[in-house]
Symmetry: C3
Subunit: 131 residues, 3 copies
């Protein structure tokens, strides 16, 4: 059910985009209890002036034009420890396989409820049992 | 107040995009208690490699490159039954008028509060009565 | 930590986009207790048929093709009064410096939790003290 938005430079290689996509999906399945094949992601490529980050850095981190913004909407309930492990694996895998700096991996999570999803066919697949 | 994001293939016809837009708006007004003319939607067209879905399908559903991702941010409070009816009508109307498979209609809902909206002019139009 | 999505016409000038970006950041720092340099924004430019608003207007407001959609995801906790002041400053500053109508500034806020953010490096920078 997670819906993932990946906003990235239009100069990113197909290999980098694939590495980002794979890293997020793999971390979800391995760490965040997301079922296999639950992989729904929207990539948007951006001109240089469309991805805005602080030139001065933030919290001791520095950023470059290779910054990747990842925003995940999913069902609430993951623990703080799971989220920590998720961030770590996503950034490490993108850095390793996409060959960009882990500091350029920005992640934002948004919670929703089980009733808030239709995977297709006009059906609420995760409907509560009592309804 | 709903703000709707529609992410769709750049090969989608203007007629399909219109059908998606109309289907969402009509279902909101008819089923989800959204006022007439409250129609705010952002369409983003994507290259084939930017809309990622499981080739194996998911939950018995299969997907094609015609997949349409719909993400709605609105004020919390709709019941499970209303959400079910909303999914059904959106997918059916898109399928009928846009001539794509209902399975290719993916919907995600995100809740917010009444204070979280300004429709323009720098004003909180839905401000609580007590403030 | 706010992640800001700015959806705007592809006819918007770089000056207007800069005015929008600055207005949001300035209002966050001055009014909404956001730290300096916490500036993360994603701009997406759109064709005319991709930004959909009611031709009839809504709530007495009217819109033009210059409409700017601003969606902010941030940590919950701002008061109604802070949100009101934020809307006002953003719309006024965009109108003044970007020379568009304040009515064309649409703002939507989405809440999240402190654990829902990684600013880079695979770390949960705002981790709760108890974990």
């Amino acid at each position: 059910m997670p819906l993932v938005r990946i906003d990235i430079s239009k100069d990113a290689s197909p290999e980098l985009i694939r590495a980002v996509s794979d890293a997020i999906y793999d971390a979800m399945v391995e760490i965040a209890n997301v079922p296999a094949h639950d992989r729904f992601q929207i990539v948007t490529r951006h001109a240089a002036d469309e991805l805005i980050y602080p030139a001065e850095g933030y919290l001791g981190l520095s950023y470059t034009r290779e910054i990747v913004f990842i925003q995940v909407t999913w069902v609430a309930g993951r623990t703080t420890e799971v989220k920590k492990a998720f961030y770590k694996k996503v950034a490490e895998d993108i850095s390793r396989h996409g060959r960009i700096r882990a500091e350029d991996v920005f992640i934002s999570l948004v919670d929703s409820s089980r009733e808030d999803w239709s995977f297709g066919g006009g059906v609420m697949q995760y409907a509560p049992a009592t309804s």
